[in-house]
Symmetry: C2
Amino acid sequence: MNVFNDEYFMKRALDEAYAAYEKDEVPVGAVIVHKEKIIARGHNLSEKLIDFTAHAEMQVFTSASNYLQNKYLNECKLYVTLEPCIMCAGAAFWTRIGEIIYGTADLKRGFRTVSNNLLHPSTKLKGPVLENECSQILKSFFSAKR
Amino acid sequence: MNVFNDEYFMKRALDEAYAAYEKDEVPVGAVIVHKEKIIARGHNLSEKLIDFTAHAEMQVFTSASNYLQNKYLNECKLYVTLEPCIMCAGAAFWTRIGEIIYGTADLKRGFRTVSNNLLHPSTKLKGPVLENECSQILKSFFSAKR
């Protein structure tokens, strides 16, 4: 049995979400995996950087492309604790990333609220994975804000 | 008569598109205007940076938010030579930018190919402005590639 399964990598994305939480950022984390190896890690930094483009996914797309020296990430998998928004799905389209595995759906701002077809035709979508933990961290964050 | 009209600022966005052209990048340029003053300039750098998130609009969103120290750009106008893609429209949504003025429509990858409602409800959309020049630079670029 392979310990490097979807749950393993989603836990690493969750580690990133907890890092965001500790910085008082909306707790979303992401990792990109290439040949069973994590090549990029990131968490939402919109508040700290005063920049909405600093979503976890955007950062790992940039990091992974830099690491591979390739704009295209078709051999990679993105693990992200929350379903990507329209911006991040649009970025994913350009990268042609091989697969996106999300933790919990985003019924308010997830890309599927607009269309199921925003991703590149060659990109697979899978989820939810570790849904309970991925959603719980967000609920805790927002309930503490009220 | 105000010389700082839409054509004036679109010409500044075109200056950026020409800078991209000279770097062998898909020639799209953008500026962000706040109270009739340009506070951010950028052009597509996807090839140089090996990063699809380096569209002109993404860069000026980051720069303008940093300049204003505000994630929200509701008092700003984005001038961009080509209709934004889904990624850039998704980013624009988060910034709640006041107005987007585009040079030429993108019938293949423009955000309106998916939905007219990707932008924030408070964001105005205007265009085309200087359509001929904004589309001609793209045509020249791609015909030279063939």
